[in-house]
């Protein structure tokens, strides 16, 4: 599978380099550089990341949205203060454009057992998904994945770190 990823990356880089090379204008050097930059990135990313990057450039004009929703200990219910942010994401995702998919990554703090936390992280991500779907977002573009306590945002074993780690990240 990994070798496939590499092949894909190199192939795309090759295609881009090829297109850039065919663009016989006085901006050719710049285009070459851009293609080379992308090729570097592609050496260590997969196809999906390519879509992320293309979309990110479209969104430069849009207001940057916070993309983390926080939860209470052993809780998977949305807190009232998350509502405004989720509505803004729902607004954006109701007309997502082509090929947009969003990953809802659920996380927990380090306390308690790991597999229970894996389930809890999924519950949190599901809560976000269900809210977005109720607001008219297509379920098909939302993918839920839980990392449990395996990917903390903040290090440390204290209330502040734990509060930052009980979260769902909305990843475009």
């Amino acid at each position: 599978m990994i070798s496939n990823v590499f092949k894909q990356g190199f192939f795309l880089a090759f295609v881009l380099a090829f297109l850039a090379g065919c663009t016989a204008t006085d901006t050719m050097d710049d285009a070459d550089d851009a293609a080379a930059d992308r090729a570097d990135e592609r050496g260590v990313t997969t196809g999906t990341a390519d879509r992320d990057r293309l979309r990110a450039s479209e969104e430069d004009d849009a207001e940057a949205l916070d993309n983390v929703i926080y939860f209470g200990f052993d809780q998977a219910t949305l807190q009232p203060e998350s509502r405004a942010l989720l509505l803004a994401h729902a607004e954006r995702l109701r007309n997502p454009g082509n090929n947009v998919s969003v990953r809802l990554e659920g996380h927990t703090d380090e306390r308690g057992s790991r597999e229970y936390n894996m389930a809890l992280g999924e519950r949190r991500a599901n809560a976000v998904r269900d809210f977005l779907v109720l607001q008219g977002v297509s379920r098909d573009i939302l993918e839920v994945i839980s990392y449990g306590e395996e990917r903390p945002a903040a290090r440390g074993s204290n209330d502040s770190a734990w509060a930052q780690n009980r979260r769902v990240e909305i990843k475009y």
Partner: protein, 429 residues
């Protein structure tokens, strides 16, 4: 999506990581048995590559039940019965005396040893002989420790067993390296089984000790894998939407209990490894996870928050009938039965701290075995005397061991990164 690096170490490569777990004893029993382990050396005077008697001493002391006489205090180093002066050993308060010697021929080491009762001035174990290659000298020392421990305590020793665990190193750029490791029960001889830039968790031994199952995110989603320890060969056995986790081997080694949320909710299933036939076990809108089989293979204990908070339940596989096992406190999770089936160890929350607790199944009595803050993942040694778990110590994830009577404890800190999720092997026989 990040690019994922996965590396499977074949045993043939014998990849040994530099980072080793080192032992730090923090508590032993009040009145340990005094034993003298006389240096076991080669009869021809050539130095051994491993100090067998020191490994034996360390093993016995780590059990908490023994106090080894320091080598410097010994008045003589007898190698045979006719060289023993029992009075010299009584003076030191020695109760038991272990002597032995080693011969080597064409790379095969032959270790013979005998155990004496100092007060009774008699041999209590007739001369034993163990043979092995240079690379097996540590195993020979563990094997000797097992025999001594069993002869004196009546309990089978578990020194010649292994552990698997997860080691995580976080890099400055925010990425992580996850490693599945295997080592001797004393933390020595660590061997890399799998390395990935994505999470690895929940490793468990097959009942025969030849395979391990674990969860890896290397496909960017959780999936359960089974890996053969001798060949390094591995198979992805689940690939469902949602959670794929918490593998647990059936006692006959033919099935895995797993947790899947493919039907919208975390439920426990059994998966027949030969034909991948899946059978749903639980059916509840709450979280059901962390399955572990009863020893007769007829039931599964698991964690569920169906009562509002996580508690441990048992389901009878034939009838589907579910019974709640824990009632003390509002967080009990990840239960594992002791080898004799009479008690269960688990993660228990008390006043904001998470500890390992043991519950007697017939009386329901609950005892805390640990008193640190973030204790998790208990795994009982196959002889039922000790359990290994993970906790945090000086800001790092470490493994720790505590006896099931809570009398003895020691840490196995790692030289690098955080270590966690230890699983103690079965006996290899």
């Amino acid at each position: 999506m990040k690019h994922i690096f996965v590396f499977v170490a074949l045993l043939a490569l014998s990849f040994t990581a530099q980072a080793q777990l080192t032992i730090e004893i923090t508590q032993g029993v009040d009145d340990p048995t005094k034993i003298a382990v006389v240096p076991i050396q080669r009869t021809d005077g050539v130095a051994l590559p491993e100090d067998i008697s020191r490994i034996v001493m360390a093993n016995l002391e780590r059990s908490g039940l023994f106090d080894a006489i320091p080598r410097d205090n010994m008045l003589s180093f007898p190698r045979a019965e006719n060289e023993i002066h029992f009075r010299d050993w009584r003076v030191l308060g020695t109760e038991y005396l272990l002597i032995g010697q080693v011969t080597e021929n064409a790379g095969i080491y032959r270790v013979s040893y005998e155990l004496f009762d100092v007060l009774g001035e008699r041999r209590i174990m007739r001369r034993q002989v163990v043979e092995g290659s240079e690379g097996q000298l540590r195993s020979i020392a563990h094997n000797i420790s097992d025999r001594i421990y069993e002869t004196i305590t009546g309990i089978r020793g578990a020194f010649d067993t292994q552990i698997i665990y997860v080691e995580v190193v976080r890099h400055d750029d925010g990425t992580d390296t996850f490693r599945l490791m295997r080592a001797d029960a004393d933390g020595a001889r660590p061997v890399l089984l799998l390395e990935s830039s994505e999470p690895i968790l929940s490793p468990v031994w097959s009942p025969d000790g030849r395979r391990v199952a674990y969860v890896s995110f290397e496909t960017n989603r959780p999936a359960v894998f089974v890996q053969n320890l001798a060949t390094g060969e591995r198979e992805q056995v689940t690939d469902f939407v949602g959670l794929n986790g918490a593998p647990a081997w059936s006692p006959d080694g033919r099935k895995l209990a797993v947790v899947l949320s493919k039907d919208g909710n975390p439920e426990i299933y059994t998966l027949e490894l030969a034909n991948k036939r899946l059978t749903r076990v639980t059916n509840h809108f709450a979280i059901d996870t962390e399955p572990s089989w009863t020893h007769d293979g007829k039931g599964i204990i698991f964690t569920s928050n169906r009562g509002g908070r996580p508690q441990i339940y048992q389901v009878d596989l034939a009838s589907g009938r579910v019974e709640r096992l824990t009632f003390q406190g509002n967080y009990n999770a990840r239960g594992r039965l002791s080898p004799d089936g009479k008690s269960m160890v688990m993660v228990h929350q008390r006043e904001g701290t998470f500890n390992i607790a043991l519950q007697e199944l017939d009386t329901g009595t609950l005892r805390l075995l640990t008193e640190t803050q973030l204790d998790e993942s208990p795994s009982v040694a196959p002889n039922g005397a000790m359990l290994i778990y993970s906790t945090r110590h000086r800001g790092r994830g470490v493994l720790a061991v505590v006896s099931l009577d809570a009398g003895t404890r020691y840490y196995l800190p790692s030289e690098r990164g955080d270590v966690r999720e230890p699983a103690w092997s079965p006996f290899f026989d």
